[in-house]
Amino acid sequence: MATRAATVERTGAGGARMTAGSLHPGAWLAWLAGGCVAVFLTSNPLYLSLGLLAAIGVYAAVRDTAKGRALTPFVALGLGLAALSVPFNVLTGSSGPSLLFTAPSLTFPGWLGNVTLGGPVTGEALVTATGRALSIAALVALAGAFNASIDHFRLLRMTPRALSQLMLSLTVAIVVVPQSLAQAKAVSEAQRLRGRRSRGLRALPGLLLPTLHGALERSVQRAESLDARGFGGGRPDTSVPPALAGVAGLGLCSWGAFGHYYYGASWLSIAALAAGASLVALALLQGGPRQTSRLRRDVWSARDGLVVAAAVVSVALVAGLRLAGAGDAAYLAYPDVVAPGFHAAGALAFVLLMLPALLHAPDVAGSEHKR
């Protein structure tokens, strides 16, 4: 009976989406952006750990409506990347006074970049590498929580025209993943039914091709159906400059992110990120007004405003700390390993990112599903 009432309420509300519990996709986007920038701005392992915890906390809160999109693959990816980055960073360039041990070393010849692998491993390098690993883990966890909490289709409709093709491809890709896993299982069973005796890793090559083939075929079917339903119709989008600006912007963003990890948090990498982001924004604005319409508005509530405000404050706090040189926001393990400093403002910045966990409530559509 309760679900029935909910349905009536939904339909009776003048076309507004009455999914009382879920936050506006825009608020989620702001949260993700704020979280990522805050993580980017600091290299202090204490704050980064808080950021990681915040992301996991938010995921735990939205999990009941996560529609089967588990955080597990994201956690695995994050931990894997983080775990790999530690030895990589330590072995590709250790310096500093506190020598831990000396690993066997190998120097590539000049034409391969004259890179030395191995050699002395120092405490400073280890601490720095761990900090980077934490930051990677925090970013992946933020992305995972975001993925679990939003409805991809609602996000798709929010994307500007210039990016709609890209977003659609992404959405289709997201749908393809679980289907591919099912396909892989089916193929593996078919192989066993046909007496193929290899299992485990040795069976992988034989499994990969048919699985990819199946996934591709399904994507083509979906693309065909989308074409027949009018996707991409109307005014053809042939404007090249916005596309160029977009690509250049994305390039700058990646360069900034790379610089951030390789050379440590510096104003240069942050400037590159900012410039890249503005180029992308410019490209989006130039992409022209969307000619589509919406069945239901996504309602912007006070809670969404709160989440955005929290994201902004969080970024401002971390940036403020850096500008003031307080709280060890730009922590460096060189020249000596010292315990990182700690400032309440930095902690507050990352605790604020937990806000969606408190404001999120089960979705109406979600409870409908469980009926």
């Binding site: 529609k67 989308l226 069945l295």
Partner: protein, 536 residues
């Protein structure tokens, strides 16, 4: 509404014309059945009508197709979306959104329809397809039949004047298929929508169709009157085939139309079991023995205390609703799903203790979706893979011949038509001479000709002493080839008996001919055999 003149098309990857010099036209409000053997070009023909051919599928195109005033040569499929709506075989692969309402609004949102209009059309579509209660549901929580109705509703919100349905029921169980086709007919009646439907289950649609387009497979398309077509073509529902053999005129297309003829002929004659194959031959030792078998998936019991013996030289048909446990039972016998309780022995081997790949020497399972079974590069390789892996005796040529696949020997399994792929899967999984054949829903979307081939091949395997166990919703198939029917309900054996008894005493599980003629008749052949014996 649709004008096709001199249409010809050849896929870029194919050596022969898929369609050649096709000319026909359809008026507004017609319901046209597109019939013909699988792989014959039905899907291609439908795709020509909204421009997917040649815009999405490349190839050599000739002639002219005008749908709702739009020429497909100058209009992209996406520009025609407002005039022609198309629904594909697999409902899952055409969904984009996460909830039913969003899916319905998707096309209109792209077209920039006014929100108020959009709102109205969504409500209308929800009512037309009777899916209002599903409006807020997430798509992944819907059944196949519900999804297919959502797919049609999503296309209808664009208010097309033509609806193209490409084998819309091939993924559905009979109940859902029946409901869907009834709905389509209502849309045609109430909205005056022009509907072209490619469909194999002729017994369900043929009586509603105004006309029939026969896509023969050699590139030609013939425009026919439905009754004429049923009187002359190899594809016809059982009632029409019986009427044809007995010279009934005008030819009945449905049980209802056939009833007066049946009354005159004498219903219910011959209540004694008429043996075409009634399982009266002495049984050998059971090859499959299940004792108290239970399988659970979390909270759900898929099989409950199933005790069953299956005998060689017989075709045993497993029937029952969706979710009754048919697939689970077959998977258990092939060693894919281990039983949680009870014992399963197949050909004297304990299934719980034998790996699937070792059982495969004697046991073959054909899964429901042929795509799930195939993973090699050519049809011949698919068969070779099984022979090599299982060490069963047999040759690739023999299997190709058995399933009429010689011309497709070097084709990629993904490039052949859906119907052909079913034959490839059968040939690949049943290659060699397995002693136990397990088939899961083998006739989904299968044309009559292939069904005949399947029945003949299963019969001959049985004659060689093999055991056949097939799960199916297809009552006609069970009537054609079943010796014994086991009805599962809620994971338990509900009914178990000779096919002729089970299928002729049931309200829902009886064949068209049984509904018409009563008694123990299941197929047109039964009636004719009796007639011959009486010498009339």
């Amino acid at each position: 509404m649709i004008d096709v003149r001199g249409l010809g098309f050849q896929y870029a990857s194919s050596a022969r014309q898929a369609l050649e010099d096709v000319t026909f036209s359809c008026g507004a409000g017609e319901l046209v059945l597109v019939a013909g053997p699988s792989g014959g070009g039905k899907s291609t023909l439908l795709r020509c009508l909204n421009g997917l051919v040649p815009h999405f599928h490349g190839g050599t195109f000739a002639g002219e197709v005008v749908t709702g005033g739009l020429d497909t040569r100058s209009h992209q499929p996406r520009d025609m979306a407002g005039v022609v709506g198309m629904v594909f075989q697999d409902p899952e692969s055409q969904m984009v959104a996460e909830t039913v309402e969003d899916e319905l609004a998707f096309g209109m949102e792209l077209a920039g329809t006014e929100p108020l209009t959009m709102r109205k059309r969504v409500e209308e579509a929800l009512d037309l397809l009777r899916i209002e209660p599903l409006r807020a549901r997430r798509l992944e929580s819907l059944s196949g039949g519900e999804l297919q109705r959502v797919a049609i509703a999503a296309v209808l919100t664009m208010q097309p004047r033509v609806l193209l349905l490409d084998e819309p029921t091939s993924q559905l169980d009979p109940q859902a298929a029946e409901e869907l086709l009834t709905t389509v007919r209502r849309l045609n009646d109430d909205l005056g929508l022009t509907v072209l439907i490619a469909e194999h289950r002729l017994e369900r649609v043929v009586q509603y169709a105004d006309r029939l387009l026969y896509v023969a497979g050699d590139g030609s398309v013939e425009e026919m009157d439905v009754r004429d077509a049923m009187g002359s073509l190899p594809i016809a529902p059982p009632v029409a085939r019986l009427g044809r053999a007995l010279g009934w005129s005008p030819l009945p297309l449905s049980v209802r139309e056939g009833r007066p003829f049946a009354e005159a002929y004498g219903r219910g004659n011959g209540n004694a079991p008429l043996t075409v194959h009634s399982g009266s031959t002495p049984r050998g030792k059971a090859t499959v023995r299940l004792a108290g078998v239970g399988v659970r998936f979390g909270e759900i019991a898929a099989l409950r205390d199933v005790t069953l013996d299956v005998f060689p030289g017989e075709i045993t048909v497993l029937m029952g609703r969706n979710g009754a446990g048919k697939t689970t039972l077959l998977r258990t016998l092939a060693g894919l799903t281990p039983p949680d309780s009870g014992t399963v022995s197949v050909l004297g081997r304990d299934v719980g203790a034998t790996a699937t790949e070792l059982l495969a020497d004697d046991v073959a399972l054909v899964p429901q979706r042929p795509e799930d079974a195939l993973y090699k590069q050519t049809v011949a390789e698919e068969i070779g893979e099984t022979l090599r892996g299982t060490g069963r005796e047999g040759s690739i040529d023999e299997a190709l011949e058995e399933w009429h696949l010689e011309p497709l020997r070097d084709a990629h399994p993904a490039d052949v038509s859906a119907g052909e792929r079913q034959r490839v899967a059968l040939a690949a999984m049943l290659a060699g001479r397995p002693r136990l054949l397990l088939l899961d829903e083998p006739t989904r979307g299968m044309d009559y000709e292939t069904k005949e081939l399947l029945v003949a091949n299963l019969r001959s395997r049985c004659g060689e002493g093999a055991t056949v166990l097939l799960a199916s919703h297809d009552v006609e198939l069970a009537g054609r080839c079943g010796d014994r029917v086991v009805l599962l309900a809620g994971g338990e054996v509900a009914v178990d008996g000779p096919a002729r008894e089970v299928l002729s005493e049931s309200l829902t599980f009886s064949t068209q001919v049984n509904k018409l003629m009563g008694g123990r008749y299941l197929t047109p052949e039964d009636v004719l055999a009796r007639r011959e014996r009486l010498g009339t």
